[in-house]
Amino acid sequence: MDTETYQEGRVVHQPEYIDGHSVEIPILKILKQDGSVYKNADMPKIDQQHATKIYHTLAFHRVLDERMVASQRQGRLSFYMTALGEEAAIVGSAAGLDDNDMIMAQYREQGALIYRGFSLENFMNQMFSNEKDLGKGRQMPIHYGSKDLNYMTISSPLCTQVPQAAGYAYGQKLKGNKQCTICYIGEGASSEGDFHAGLNMAAVHRAPVIFFCRNNGYAISTPSTEQYAGNGIAARGVGYGIKTIRVDGNDLLAVLKATQEAREYVINENKPMLIEAMSYRLGAHSTSDDPSGYRTREEEAKYAAHDPILRMKNWMLAQNWWDEEQETVLFEDLRQKILAAVKVAEVIDKPAIDELITDVYDVPSAQLEQQLSTLKEHIKKYPDAYPVTAGRIK
């Protein structure tokens, strides 16, 4: 019985309180903005090859985000979300995992998917919801997923992936294959009931899951000061009895270090861990959003000075693992490839009308087959009204 433990705790006879200040939460930093490393810093495991892969991922990420926002502005794409300013948190954590570990993301973690090697074509096909999209054109842009790459398809309802990650990781533990799950979540979504349910379930049932909170200061227009009254999300780990660390989310080496240690811990101990990465959402929430309605340019400029990609580049330069010429070539190459890929993907056909009813069940029900065939007859009668599908109905 737990109660006994408490009875054995320190007994006081005058009220003594605890509160949000009762626990001090240090923040881990390894890399300075100028690319130098703090004295005595504990470095993550990283070599030139790994660092180069990470930097390529960051570059791809930055160019993809830039190009897709431009495409959206040009009216070629309906919607997009950048991760501007948060790339180190996302890519650094993905780089601390094994490729067979499961990634359950919120939506702003394309960086993790780039790191895993999702092809440019796959990105484009999803965003243009064409017939080559792995998700069959059923979700809004940026809702990627890939079974092969162990990247769970994004779901818009926030925080639902948190208890799911506990369950997924529990299944990994049952299988005994020494794999873990990382679950990304925003500081805003962390207010949902599912957050509480998921962290508690994971702690009680000892699931090997890393809860990785991107605290970027905003949930759409709502600043984190109106989201919670405690000391961020890390302070909640105490309540669940979950080992927790806070890192500078713009410091890729710190994020990588924390994730590498977390992976070791959750797999060896069969317990969850919580990482809170402090960062700032430099861009708009999405292309539908206009941050000038709720924050100042000055505020944005202040945080822009902490660009995590530049910080990593500075370190790479200092290591002599990278130079300015490589930088120019890489970025130019990426811009061209991405532009070309947009042009290809945007003209690929939408999925055939038959895909309207597949995957509702493992096999379409008789009723769905009936609804589809009625619909096809209707489209044949009015082909002009349904230009996307009419031409291709046999």
Binding site: S156, T222, Y294, V360, Q371, L372, L375
Partner: protein, 325 residues
Amino acid sequence: MAQMNLLQAINNALEIAMTENESAVCFGEDVGHFGGVFRATSNLQEKFGKARCFNTPLTEQGIMGFANGLASQGSVPIAEIQFADYIFPAFDQIVNESAKFRYRSGNEFNVGNLTIRTPYGGGIAGGLYHSQSPEAYFAHTPGLKIVVPRNPYQAKGLLLAAIRDKNPVIFFEPKKLYRASIGEVPEEDYQLPIGKAEVVKSGSDITLLGWGAQMETLEKAADMAEKQGVSCEVIDLRSILPWDADTVAESVQKTGRLLINHEAPLTGGFAGEIAATIQDMCFLHLESPISRVCGLDTPFPLSHEKEYMPDELKTFEAIMASVNY
């Protein structure tokens, strides 16, 4: 009278309600300073202060729990759920709590002051999580009222009625009409009745019944049918719960035919309830089966939204099938 779009009409109703009653409070995700992601609550924080119009943490169950408590205390909560697709985490607070609060306490306590506003429906390329029409999920719940306006005039009058109604009301706003639907709206206070359908157009051969954004579809289909010599009576149900069976039955007794249209999937949708009731009330008058033109039994699609929707062509076809039965 002023020209307003649907958002402005809602904003105007909220302003009237908050001016009239100082215990009226608006809240939800991004509802405060920013005025909501669709800007329905624009300027309310400026006018009424942060205590009466504010952002909440990102938790629909928390929003609705908080709203239930506030209503039971005697304040007048007007809670926003950012998209109707995200109302489900609050399902327990609404269906087990709001709906049953008065009944279970023998009216010692009630949350009659509660209003829930939420944008619903397709038309914004939102896919399965920004397009749902969940009215039928709530319509199986005694204790709730459910209202859906079709244009700015209706929106203002019905929202004011919903806020003042002494029962918890869910107010579904057709988001594709937020800016698209513009009309004359009186600047002064007025109310439209909850629980009363409106005959939008009278006719003699078939009754077309719908609500919200689909009313436009029905009107277009009616126009097409008229060209074929079919006279359509068009009815806006306006309230899903309670719903005005008498007005519908009266119409069907005259026309002998009924077609119901909604965006939500066919199976388990509210058209089923209406058809079941009307076949009973009008059995001897029906000249053809009651027809349901609804969404398919799939999640709301993205690239096939056009094909999925119960549009005017499908409605027109169903009208003709009914008339030629």
